[in-house]
Assembly symmetry: C2
Homo-oligomer: 285 residues x 2
């Protein structure tokens, strides 16, 4: 999907929030905000918003000299989510439909998104879990189950650290031996990388690859040839999070998008209310 004018104040707000997260130096905050004002003043609004996010966070890493500014935040999110794992597992085990309950919980975990909210607490996550279990899917859960049953292999595009623990629970409900999980190729925001996938034990239950890109989404032109090959060869793609929706929703592929609609522009684009938990059959499915 394309960026809109409404994305621009949000880019600026996110830049300032991220700058304050990664540096205590007001001169750094001012420098990056001024640079992003210039970039957005001239930006091509046909790009998906995560492409601008990628540029902003690259520049922040360059200015601060810190390669992975969200490392500590990601580790904390992983720990917090791992501490919830036993009770989440129990919810799934006792559910009448474990696959759908696991999918609901995976969407609930999408609340751990530091592009939208820099300070997600355990209370926020518990509230999101409660919401996910009580509210209906916006989407096609029968189609989702059918697509999974039919797929010869599944490429699961993960989103954020912490959230990846919730993904693990869903992946455990998918047909064993058929799932590959892809994470970002390099640090960007609090998005999960190989380090996070291993930290939450995903390598024990699925093959893990990275996509070769540091965009907070899946910008195929920026991903590695190997990832593109795997993407093309996948029987079914499960894409977690807003960033993957924003960058892949125009692809003609069998994709199910699973995310929490936190942004009004994305919600409008998906045709759902803000706050909806979305399990959406993408273009080609």
């Amino acid at each position: 999907m394309k960026a809109t004018l409404d994305c621009i104040p949000c880019f600026i707000r996110q830049t300032l929030e991220a700058a304050r997260m990664v540096s205590t130096d007001p001169a750094v905050h001012e420098q990056i905000v001024r640079e992003v004002l210039r970039w957005t003043g001239e930006m091509d609004l046909r790009i998906p918003p995560p492409v601008m996010g990628q540029r902003i966070h690259r520049r922040l890493r360059e200015i601060t000299g810190v390669e992975d500014p969200y490392r500590a935040a990601k580790e904390q999110s992983n720990r917090m989510a791992l501490s919830l794992l036993p009770e989440l597992k129990a919810m799934i085990d006792t559910a009448p439909d474990p696959l759908i309950t696991a999918a609901r919980l995976a969407i609930a975990g999408n609340v751990i998104d530091m592009g939208v909210n820099g300070t997600v607490t355990e209370t926020d996550v518990r509230r999101s879990i409660q919401h996910a279990l009580e509210e209906p899917f916006t989407g096609d859960s029968a189609g989702f189950q059918q697509a999974i049953a039919n797929a010869r292999n599944i490429l699961y595009l993960a989103d954020n650290a912490g959230e990846i623990v919730f993904d693990r629970l869903l992946i455990e409900q998918l047909p064993p031996g058929r799932v590959t999980v892809a994470v970002r190729g390099a640090p960007i925001l609090n998005d999960a990388t190989l380090t996070d996938a291993r930290a939450v034990g995903l390598h024990e239950i699925a093959e893990i690859i990275d996509n070769g890109s540091d965009a907070p989404g899946t910008v195929l032109a920026d991903c590695s040839p190997e990832f593109n090959r795997r993407f093309a060869a996948a029987g079914l793609i499960l894409a977690k999070g807003q960033g993957n929706f924003e960058t892949l929703n125009d692809e003609s592929r069998d994709i199910f998008f699973l995310f929490k609609a936190k942004c009004p522009v994305i919600a409008a684009h998906a045709g759902v209310p803000v706050g909806a938990q979305v399990c959406m059959d993408g273009g080609g499915a």
Copy 2:
């Protein structure tokens, strides 16, 4: 007070909101947003935020060719507030302390601020009234009463259309014959001008002047010599709204600022929580 980096995403959001309010043409929205991105990218952060607001709205009027884009909105706010007048008068007449109740209501009326919220409904206004009557002042009400009793003449700086009806109720409680009300010198946002002052009958109870400026605040350097003379000669100044606080809070004068702290930057600067109703003794008082 100076602008901060936090003001910048808000400038962009307000620009887009105002552009959509004054024009249905997406090309106009994009043009002004891109211009404001360039301006803010180079802006001097030592200016008070309303100076940027003035520049944005001047440019919007220039691009659209509409001299007073908020005219209809201002008239509607005046009508809505006038319809509340009898019950507001009754609240004051039956209050143990009519002056303080009138001041509380005048602050409640400051919710009608289209720079902060483009769509203020009667429900919002009623909620603000309720809040104003129930919550304590953040400030010095004894000092406020004393300053009014002592002042040989009072210059009342009005803020917005609609809100000016609430101001009228407070002005009716001030010593008769000693009050001059100043409004903006030209249309800017939904700020009150001479047209609004007359529409709500303020000319029947006080002298009305305009300040010669189209800033959404009181930028003395931009105001007329006559207004500056009146400002200097006033025994006491009552300044309504955030814009007047932002532009006058560093003046060494006897000023009481009356406003609802709607913006987190201003609230922090005033040392009050967001949402507080402020009656604050300014620098020189």
